[in-house]
């Protein structure tokens, strides 16, 4: 088996999920200049809601094919997350629109803790196993294995990103979003209702978060009230790596981070003579974050951080 190719495939799958989450961070940053640290929790809520719906459907005894049950779970999670994203902005961030950035940042962290605890109350502290609803038939591919679920995750993520790119670059709404992100005051002079655009940005980012939440739970087979924390930090890292505020950057950053992590986990044992194992996987994401912040704070495709400061 080719370890390199295998880890590349694993990284691509993981990276596709990171990219979806990173897009939510980067869209909000692009418009508000705010890091929405509660975004990882939206992903978690998406996974939990989908899990609850799936468990109910399975328990109800209605004979539905696995993929249909999974799709219904996702379709339930998306509107819940969209409403949650809308609510977070309305309740936590809009009242602080004119306030110093630090106030909004602290609020974001507070919102994240609040959502984690709410989820803990609703779903408990235990790990929930996420049923395997999609066929995981493995395919041999040049010495590596890729299964149906992995293929499906990558394709769905790619489709979601294409829809987003179309929305932002080819529609009237997307034009208004880009204009608002560049200069909200002037966008207002054009007749754009800034508050609506900001709300839509949160809602769209949260829809992507719901998709990512269902994907990651299905991929690892678990869901947990704390799962959004680490995932959120990694996706944030991916957004910074690609250049925060830049959509293509978030996609690139997500994919790269997933691949770096997987390759790192695959080779860390060999590199340290067996001293460190693959459970040190998380180290790589934060190593990347530190290196980017030190050597290229504007990220791979970004310019706006440097431009604004």
């Amino acid at each position: 088996m080719d370890i390199f190719l295998q880890q590349l495939i694993n990284g691509l799958v993981l990276g596709a999920i990171y990219a979806l989450v990173a897009l939510g961070y980067t869209m909000v940053y692009g418009i508000l200049g705010l890091i929405n640290f509660a975004h990882g929790e939206v992903v978690m809520i998406g996974a939990m809601v989908a899990l609850s719906v799936i468990q109910m459907l399975v328990a109800s005894g209605i004979a539905l094919p696995g993929p249909v049950i999974a799709a219904l779970g996702l379709l339930a999670a998306m509107p819940v997350c969209m409403a949650l994203g809308y609510g977070i902005e309305r309740v936590a961030y809009r009242p602080l629109r004119g306030a110093p950035r630090l106030a909004a940042l602290i609020t974001a962290i507070g919102m994240s803790i609040l959502l984690q605890n709410a989820a803990m109350i609703i779903w408990g502290r235990q790990y929930h196993s996420f049923p395997a609803l999609l066929p995981a038939t493995p395919h041999q591919f040049a010495g590596a294995t890729i299964n149906d679920l992995q293929i499906f995750i990558v394709l769905l993520a790619a489709a979601a990103m294409l829809v987003l790119l179309y929305l932002v670059h080819r529609t009237r709404l997307g034009r208004a979003m880009r204009a608002t992100s560049e200069n909200p005051e002037i966008a207002g002079l054009m007749g754009v209702n800034i508050n609506t655009v900001i709300s839509i940005t949160f809602v769209v980012g949260s829809a992507l978060a719901a998709v990512a939440g269902v994907m990651i739970s299905a991929y690892y087979g678990v869901a947990h009230y704390f799962m959004g924390f680490m995932l959120g930090l990694k996706a944030f890292t991916a957004a910074v790596l690609g250049g925060i505020g830049n959509l293509a950057g978030a996609m690139l950053g997500g994919l790269l981070l997933g691949i770096i992590e997987s390759l790192g986990a695959g080779y860390i044992g060999d590199l340290t003579g067996g001293f460190l194992g693959s459970h040190y996987q998380d180290v790589f994401a934060f190593l990347v974050l530190i290196l980017v912040l030190v050597f290229r704070p504007s990220g791979l495709l970004g310019e706006r951080v440097a431009e604004r400061s």
Partner: protein, 234 residues
Amino acid sequence: MLEVRGLKVSYGGITAVKGIDLEVTAGELVTLIGANGAGKTTTLKALAGLLRPAAGRIHYNGDDVTALPAFQLVRRGLALVPEGRGVFGRLTVEENLAMGAYSRRDRARIGADFDRVYERFPRLAERRRQLAGTLSGGEQQMLAIGRALMSRPSLLLLDEPSMGLAPLMVQRIFETIRRIAAEGVTLLLVEQNAKLALEACDRGYVMESGVIALADSAPRLLANPQVRQAYLGE
């Protein structure tokens, strides 16, 4: 068309506009001149809904619009070309113009208005696919004016359209302004270049440290010794 009574606007902790009265009648070309820091830009921002007045009333077409935000005023036909032009540098020329028409739904006529703007400013037509940030200052000013026209304004507020432009470009911008006025758009023009502004306009207000110091017809202001001394450099 526009009637302003006792307008006071605070901006960054200071009262920049200290209670002014101002009127613009339909079809007029009116200018607001004054030194740097007299409160001209603050006045325009308040009129366009970007700043909330501390006191006073703004009536537009008979309605009290004092508390309306900018995005609602542009739907009523009141557009501002802001100081420093404010084009969206990361959007193309064409996308900037489309943003100007954002508040409109009449697709067919929007298409015709694109053509009119490109006819008026052939340079913009040549650069329609270019990012607006790559345009020269004069081209950006054309774009800012063209973009405002895309909203089909009945009242157009212009803030320092000549700022930072070469003399030849200033002449062209003023020609454009006169032509827009001749087409029936009412204009309120803020300018530091008092001579050019007064020569182009019907009436003028002179603003000094937040109040209206003088209000008269443009020819009379041009002949006024005080104005000549303070603003025309004589």
